[in-house]
């Protein structure tokens, strides 16, 4: 299976030297949904940011490659890399309340980049935006396009951000915990909407979450991240029936899923955490030699 996104041996550290990502490798096949799971602080968002070229300045890539649609992003000059990423990938952000520019109307926030960067006609871009807003089930798109973000609810804004992510027909969508900031009541709708859009537009999806339960419903493959290290990469069915890594197994046990609907809600045992920590330290020793 050919990968649309391939992260090879990515090492990322604070400029002070502390490792954040430890030799991360990851594949997302074209049109497939890949889950990226790990507890908060594991480095999930940093993988997404590394791919999209929006890492915080305090962090630096010490080694590794990121290939997008067969192109090594590191080999491109900055401006071209930015354009390539903008054309081939898009982000559905975590917090819809802060991801829209408060001083701009919704319409231009969807259409401007189509005009500015991809050279569309303004009228085409607007027609496209209306169509996309229909697709994400927003009633009266024309009115919404004239609104400012503060006039809309969180769920509505996340729909708009989803529509906007699909605007330039990217072949990879990175959704970074797209429902954590939302009401529980709208979380399910938004998850269903992302799955629906992914299928309709046949894009690859890197789905970042700390919730294994969500992954079980939406993903084809997944990676489990612990302290910036991928401890298991698996196809979905195999993972849920025979997880290999003890940490994965413990995580699975702690999560309510189809196969384990009530979830035992047992925390990951300390012995498993200690063993996994030891692995991470061994990795760092090997890396520093």
């Amino acid at each position: 299976m050919n990968s649309f996104l391939e992260v090879r041996n990515l090492n990322l550290s604070l400029k002070a030297g502390m490792p954040i990502l430890r030799s991360v490798s990851l594949n997302v096949a074209a049109g497939q949904v890949h889950g990226l799971v790990g507890e908060s602080g594991a480095g999930k968002s940093m993988i997404g940011k590394a791919v999209l070229g929006t890492l915080p300045r305090a962090l630096q890539v010490t080694s590794g490659e990121i290939w997008l649609d067969g192109v090594n992003l590191n080999s491109l000059p900055t401006a071209e890399r930015r354009k390539t990423i903008g054309a081939k990938a898009a982000l559905i952000p975590q917090d819809p309340l802060t991801a829209l520019n408060p001083s701009k109307r919704i319409g231009p926030q969807i259409t401007r980049r189509l005009v500015d960067i991809l050279g569309w006609q303004k009228s085409d871009a607007e027609a496209r935006a209306v169509e996309l807003l229909h697709e994400v089930h927003i009633p009266d798109p024309a009115r919404v396009m004239k609104s400012y973000p503060h006039e809309l609810s969180g769920g509505m804004r996340q729909r708009i951000l989803i529509a906007s992510a699909f605007a330039a027909e990217p072949k990879l969508i990175i959704a970074d915990e797209p429902t954590t900031a939302l009401d529980v009541t709208v979380q399910k709708q938004i998850l269903r909407l992302i799955a629906e859009m992914q299928q309709r537009h046949d894009t690859a999806l890197l789905f970042v979450t700390h919730d294994l339960g969500v992954v079980s419903k939406t993903c084809d493959t997944l990676s489990v991240l612990y302290a910036g290290k991928v401890i298991e990469e698996a196809r979905m069915r195999r993972f849920f029936t025979r997880p290999i890594h003890p940490y994965s197994a413990a995580l699975l046990k702690a999560t309510p899923t189809y196969t384990n609907p009530r979830g035992s809600l047992t925390p990951v045992p300390q012995s498993v955490i200690d063993a996994t920590e030891r692995e991470v330290r061994e990795h760092d020793m090997r890396a520093s030699r």
Binding site: T54, R82, A90, L91, P93, A99, L100, S103, D116
Partner: protein, 336 residues
């Protein structure tokens, strides 16, 4: 409805503020020593002469009575008669106002351009030596007050490299018969480029001296605000769409970063207007501030009062404009 109520409240507070200023000024200038009448008369005038003039200007009455007389005049648009020039205060003050307004507005424009450019450059090259240079420059600009900048500029562009006029507002030869006292605005409208050049040549140094400290404040506030805005999610999202650094700073961050700096810049602008008093004196620029100093020297009480009230009025207008801009630029308030 609420708009109407807000305007009403605004007008009331303005009236109360101006009244308070009037009371304070009225009392203070009458309590400090110095007899305006004695200064008008030639040496050797008799006590009887002085008493007669005192009565003519009403200075023999109590301060309270004087104030009531003055106030009832003001209600009819009469701000009294200047003692030193024997002309109506209102006319004198209004004839000088345009010069000071032009100077202040040109200074504000320079400050916004300079400060904005520094803030943008400091943000574009943040965490490099260039940002440090912006910080040091604005820190230095701020640690020297406007009138000392005036002296520095006179040394530079008046003495060492004399390219600008160091005094006055306009060269007599170019004093075409203006129909208003807004010389600069009028000559721009009339496309008199020779006059514009001459006016700018006179105005450049005083305006720059006033502008430098404000530019430094704008540079610091706006850069801080921009840097905070650059971390926000919508800026990051814009980057993922393929936009470069320049676009992200000027189009995504700037419109939002300006808002929190607006109020403070407004306050600083009123300080700038206050600064015209000394700067106009330094550059012999015939504006309101220069007239104020003459009025104080001559103990011209009615004139001092008129000028102070006008300055206070200007400050409230500036605050009003800033508040209106804040609402205008802020979509969350605009539709409220």
């Amino acid at each position: 409805m609420t708009v109407f109520r807000n305007i009403l409240i605004r007008l009331l507070t303005t009236a109360v503020t101006l009244f308070g200023v009037a009371v304070i000024v009225f009392v203070v200038i009458r309590v400090v020593p110095g007899n305006p009448i004695a200064m008008m008369l030639p040496p050797g005038a008799t006590d009887a002469d002085i008493a007669r003039l005192q009565a003519q200007y009403g200075f023999d009455k109590s301060i309270f009575q004087q104030f009531m007389i003055w106030l009832s005049g003001v209600m009819q648009g009469d701000f009294g008669t200047s003692i030193s020039t024997r002309q109506p205060v209102a006319g004198l003050v209004l004839s000088r106002l345009p010069a000071t307004l032009e100077l202040s507005i040109v200074a504000l424009t320079i400050a916004m351009l300079l400060g904005g450019a520094l803030a943008l450059a400091g943000t574009r090259f943040r965490e490099t030596k260039a940002e440090a240079a912006v910080d040091i420059t604005s820190g230095m600009a701020l640690s020297i007050p406007d009138f000392l900048w005036g002296l520095v500029l006179i040394l530079l562009f008046g003495v060492l490299w004399p390219v600008f006029h160091i005094s006055g507002r306009i060269s007599p030869a170019l004093n075409i018969d203006f129909s208003t006292n807004f010389y600069l605005f009028e000559s721009i409208l009339r496309l008199r480029f020779d006059v514009i050049a001459d006016l700018v040549g006179h105005m450049f140094m005083p305006a720059l001296a006033l502008a430098i400290p404000l530019a430094a404040i704008i540079a610091q506030l706006l850069k801080q605000s921009l840097k905070e805005t650059m971390h926000l999610d919508y800026v990051t999202l814009a980057r993922t769409k393929g936009y470069g650094e320049n676009h992200v700073i000027t189009r995504e961050a700037l419109p939002n970063a300006v808002l929190p700096t607006l109020t403070l810049v407004g306050v600083q602008f009123t300080f700038l207007i206050g600064g015209t008093v000394i700067i106009e004196r330094l550059f012999s620029y015939e504006g309101l501030g220069n007239m104020a100093i003459d009025a104080v020297i001559n103990r011209d009480l009615p004139l001092i009062q008129g000028i102070v009230i006008l300055f206070a009025f200007l400050f409230t207008i500036v605050n009003l404009v800033v508040d209106m801009l804040y609402v205008l630029l802020n979509p969350k308030l605009r539709h409220a």
